[in-house]
Subunit: 157 residues, 2 copies
Amino acid sequence: MSYVYERPIQDYYPDDIAVCFGCGRHNPEGLHIETYWDGAEGICRFTPLPRHAAYPGVVYGGLIASLIDCHSVGTAVAAAYQQQGRQPGSEPLILFFTARLEVDFVSPAAVGAEMELRARVTGFGERKSVVACSVVSGGVECARGVVTAVRAAKLGI
Amino acid sequence: MSYVYERPIQDYYPDDIAVCFGCGRHNPEGLHIETYWDGAEGICRFTPLPRHAAYPGVVYGGLIASLIDCHSVGTAVAAAYQQQGRQPGSEPLILFFTARLEVDFVSPAAVGAEMELRARVTGFGERKSVVACSVVSGGVECARGVVTAVRAAKLGI
């Protein structure tokens, strides 16, 4: 499969802010969630480890929420660069933060089985993007999420 | 402050299932979220570590979602035992899983500052409880969540 941007969108985040537990490449203890952009959807693959259980063998919801959150924000970023006809990494920087996260847990997902997340921007405004995300594990949809992502004017508190 | 049950509700979960990354006391790498029950509200305190950042110094949303999820489920469990006039740990076991999670991120929360979560059952059915949760950091509400928790007939896939 070929993607619009060669690397996952998180690889283009500036070094000094790429520390997110979910998707920061500079967080050595983090999840290293990666969003690949195919021009219409953000695609993420992640295999939950035994420590990510809720009950033995079943993935805990907080991990799924984290995957949906970071991957949907990454998808919003990728789509915004494409909408502007620019490569990620070019100036000005495009960043989003999550204003609202909704997750429906549809069926249990197994620890050790690769999950695939597909996210799509369903609403696009000047400051706000809405992203819908589906999570599939073992060929079955295990969760659906909606993220409302807002363009960040600045970062930090 | 005195609580209805001496220990956090998660301490009463059976040993063989207490492995949740969020709230399992037997997950050595987990967050060890604890829910204390005061008879009306579940109360949880948690101090995010530097690795739990989104951007430098600011807590990442996935952690907040995880806290709301496990703490709200714990609150649903504690309230259900009280509603039945029983101590947690007595038979039959009461367990819930999360069917839906909604989080509104209201303001940034600082890494290193203790968070307080207060959760309350706002809807109580035979199989389903709805729990509303507020998260305060540094005296300011940083997030609000709603969890729809469903009584578990059995665990696992």
